[in-house]
């Protein structure tokens, strides 16, 4: 029977949650790297026991950890993320130029085919790659040196590259998203990039339909249909049917279209999930009810999923990297909260139960389906 491993990054360490395919009883290991912020950890699709983790601290900076045994043991790897060439400036919160500076790794995206290759999205926004299992990292500077980069601006969490999507069917095509610059696409394996933000509208920037400057919170795709993208923006849930060339809003009947994560059902490309949050300054669910919303039509029409989730006095947040799905049937859906709960649904969202309730604030959740 297949198993599931859920990798959880928190403000004070990493946790590894494992279960058999029933997904009703869980073993919890951790904290790994206790006391450190773990922004993200993710396994290689080519070798699920090969894990990469981003470990960071305000005191000691960035550390990269790698496991070759599914998180039982770890070894630190190269933590030198040096921008390739002059760095120039981006815009600061007040619109003045601000020098580019590395802060941390937000997201690690292992290659689907090579366990030694992985991409790292960092703050201040740039894309790095390792091809030797984390022994060294090199920037793909075409993104950071895009002609629009001097106009990029940080979101409240920093100017982070937080989403990396690798097109499984078209070699060399990849998407990234940056807060607050927008979505970008490369068709040549990350050498050159262009913004793909047509159709986005953001009232918080001088030109609401500008080419860059949008606070994109998350992108998602289904691997069977990579030209269709879904986006949770600062406000608005969006959809593109042409690989980002154009976007249309699909917020529909959501109680709020502000939120952070968005994800796609493993077997139903038109079934998507979001967690509405009240507003950009009130980072908690509307009415104190923690509801995942599911659309089976690729947006526009949404249904609240509430069974097993707190429906009163709940004021947690769910961050952009803190939702994931497994590939079992029925599809498992997982998300973690700022209150330290990790919720699991073994029936595609129809019902939920906490795996753990009292972790440090959850930053990221990644589900792996294991043989």
């Amino acid at each position: 029977m297949s198993r599931v491993r859920v990798l959880v990054g928190t403000r004070k360490g990493a946790f590894v949650l494992t279960s058999d395919g029933k997904r009703d009883r869980w073993d919890v290991s951790g904290p790994h790297f206790g006391g450190w912020e773990i922004y993200h950890l993710k396994g290689s699709p080519a070798d699920p026991d090969r894990l990469y983790a981003s470990q960071s601290s305000g005191w000691f900076g960035q550390v990269i950890q790698r496991s070759n045994d599914g998180g039982k043991t770890w070894e630190s790897k190269d933590n030198k993320f040096t921008y390739d060439g002059p760095t120039g400036t981006h815009l600061w919160y007040d619109g003045t130029p601000h020098p580019w500076g590395f802060a941390r790794v937000w997201h690690l995206e292992p290659s689907p085919s090579d366990p030694d290759t992985a991409y790292a999205g960092v703050e201040d926004a740039a894309l790095f790659r390792t091809t030797d299992g984390g022994q060294s990292w090199q920037e793909l500077p075409g993104l950071r040196t895009h002609k629009s980069a001097s106009l990029w601006q940080p979101g409240a969490g920093g100017m982070c590259l937080h989403t990396i999507l690798l097109d499984p069917s078209r070699a060399g095509r990849m998407f990234v998203a940056i807060s607050a610059a927008g979505a970008f696409r490369s068709d040549d394996a990350g050498t050159t990039w262009r913004p793909v933000n047509k159709g986005l509208q953001s009232e918080g920037i001088p030109d609401p339909t500008a080419e860059v400057g949008h606070c994109v919170h998350r992108l998602a795709m289904h691997r069977s249909r990579p030209e269709v993208l879904f986006m949770q923006k600062h406000w608005d849930v969006m959809r593109s049917d042409d690989a980002g060339e154009s976007w249309r809003e699909v917020s529909g009947n959501l109680p709020s279209d502000f939120g952070f994560p968005i994800d796609v059902h493993a077997h139903e490309p038109e079934t998507i999930y979001v967690v509405p949050i009240k507003s950009d300054s009130e980072h908690y669910p509307p009415e104190g009810k923690l509801r995942v919303y599911r659309s089976r039509s690729g947006g526009d029409e949404w249904e609240p999923l509430t069974k097993g989730l707190p429906q009163s006095h709940c004021y947690v947040n769910v961050l952009r990297d803190a939702m994931s799905v497994d590939t079992l049937d029925p599809c498992g859906v997982y998300f973690g909260t700022s209150g330290g709960q990790v919720y699991a649904s073994a029936d595609a969202g129809n019902s939920w139960a906490p795996i753990v309730r009292d972790l440090p604030a959850v930053v990221s959740v990644e589900a792996q389906t294991l043989p």
Partner: protein, 98 residues
């Protein structure tokens, strides 16, 4: 041998217990001790000093013999007691919550 006391999180990262001892050839300066420390424990590179600028990370301090050496030139000789190994160099994380 030069004795170095690391903060708890860096001891964990370096997989050591208690004090670390490093050998330094030539003048015993802060730079020489940190170079030797990073040579023996490569996983500490970038965690005490910035990789590129080699500047002390802002939330770390260097103490020895009840003195704050954080703002000394990295090429200033360390106190005789540190050189003699009777006192350690302390790498201290700033007291800040979170």
């Amino acid at each position: 041998m030069i004795r170095v006391v690391l903060p708890a999180h860096l001891r964990t990262l370096a997989r050591v217990d208690g004090e670390v001892k490093v050998a330094v050839e030539g003048p015993v300066t802060l730079r020489a001790v940190l170079d030797a420390l990073e040579a023996s424990y490569p996983m500490l590179r970038g965690t005490i000093r910035d990789h590129v600028t080699r500047e002390r990370r802002p939330f770390l301090r260097f103490f020895a013999c009840e003195e704050d050496l954080s703002h000394e030139s990295p090429d200033t000789p360390l106190p005789d007691a540190v050189v003699a190994g009777t006192q350690p160099l302390l790498v201290v994380g700033a007291m800040a919550g979170g």
